[in-house]
């Protein structure tokens, strides 16, 4: 197995069955995984913000644009849209209180789902929200997504 860590606003698409795409210490950001099970192509993107900001042109940073951008990269590697499904995790509320900044995790999740729905990509599994940070591991060989949090059993999606 070789692990590839995906940093904030970054993405990776892989066809290597030995590769595990991961995000370590995911809080209010969202980890979106796309998978073509027929061709065994996996992609992961580490999303920061719900809506895109003017004059910033990295589509992988925003939930509004990242699903489409990742889909295009998947297609470039030979994936077919009709076979692709999504798995998502993240979007936690790490700090509690009335600050509107604290809701960003939830807004990231909502916008990611909306963008996926508009593309017609089904969400096969999700483990989102809550108050705990996560580390997530996405296996290119079979599309399995492992979600780890401190003080909790590993969840497999």
């Amino acid at each position: 197995m070789k692990k590839s860590s995906i940093g904030m606003a970054e993405y990776k698409v892989s066809k290597d069955p030995e590769e595990v795409l991961c995000i370590l210490g995911l809080g209010s950001c969202v980890g979106l995984c796309l998978y073509d099970p027929v061709r065994k192509i996996g992609g992961m993107v580490h999303i920061l913000l719900p809506e895109k900001i003017e004059k910033q042109n990295n589509p992988f940073k925003f939930a509004e644009t990242a699903p489409q951008a990742l889909l295009e990269e998947m297609k470039r590697e030979g994936a077919l849209k009709r076979d692709i499904y999504a798995k998502i995790s993240g979007g936690a509320m790490m700090f509690s209180g009335s600050n509107s900044l604290f809701d960003i995790g939830q807004r990231n999740v909502e916008m990611t789902k909306k963008a996926l729905a508009e593309l017609g990509i089904p969400i096969k599994a999700e483990e989102v929200g809550g108050k705990k940070g996560r580390s997530i591991f996405f296996y290119v060989k079979d599309g399995k997504l492992e979600v780890r949090a401190i003080g909790r059993e590993i969840i497999t999606l």
């Binding site: 210490g25 913000l49 790490m94 960003i104 705990k132 940070g133």
Partner: protein, 209 residues
């Protein structure tokens, strides 16, 4: 194009460092009063750094840390995050609470009311002390929100701040903070992240623009 952290000169950095030193002095006095024993604080380092490097400083994105967050409001706006590893947090609680401190690390993850309020209070004191130092220097009116606590993986605790920074800049003012009580010492990091435009207001008020 406004000022950003990546083009500060030495004079400006010195001014910010001085605020860090005075803030630490104020905070040490307040903490000593709170616990009724002598706590000193030093600022070994003031740095501007890409905040995405913070988890690596603390021992990696999965390193277990405690973070206290406060929002800054007033004539400048921004964010404060005080962050330390759970091992250091436990040491600090022992330093400040003595026998009332939690007995092991697991209690830091599920802090009882006493420990949680002690950590929040420390965040509060640090934030007030640094902001008072900043306000005294600049004459700006500054306020801060109530503190909010998170104990989790460093990457997850920091990403909220990173998200905020990602909207405009990429740098944070990091004031490394060392608490010393007799021979024991504890390290933590105090981060001040001004919003766009706020850094410029601060530097103007300091007379170093």
């Amino acid at each position: 194009m406004g000022l950003s952290f990546d083009n500060l000169n030495d004079l400006q950095l010195d001014a910010l460092r001085e605020i860090g030193n005075i803030g630490a002095g104020n905070a040490a006095t307040a903490l000593s009063k709170m616990v009724n024993k002598k706590v000193t604080m030093t600022v070994p380092r003031v740095a501007l750094l890409p905040i995405k490097e913070v988890p690596n400083w603390l021992g990696g994105p999965e390193k277990e840390v405690l973070g206290v967050y406060l929002a800054v409001s007033g004539e400048v706006t921004g964010h404060i995050l005080f962050i330390m590893t759970v091992e250091n947090a436990l040491k600090l609680m022992r330093m400040l609470l003595g026998d009332l401190a939690p007995s092991d690390i697991s209690a830091v993850f599920e802090p009882d009311e006493m420990s949680a309020s002690a950590m929040n209070e420390i965040g509060n004191i640090l934030a007030s002390s640094y902001l008072t130092a900043l306000a005294d220097f600049t004459g700006l009116r500054l306020d801060h929100s109530v503190p909010s606590l998170a104990v989790d993986m460093a990457g997850a605790v920091v990403d909220l701040i990173l998200i905020e920074i990602a909207k405009h800049g990429d740098y944070a003012l990091l004031i490394e903070t060392e608490f010393v009580e007799e021979e024991d010492h504890v390290e933590g990091y105090f981060m001040l992240i001004p919003d766009t435009g706020s850094l410029e207001i601060i530097l103007k008020a300091l007379g170093v623009v």
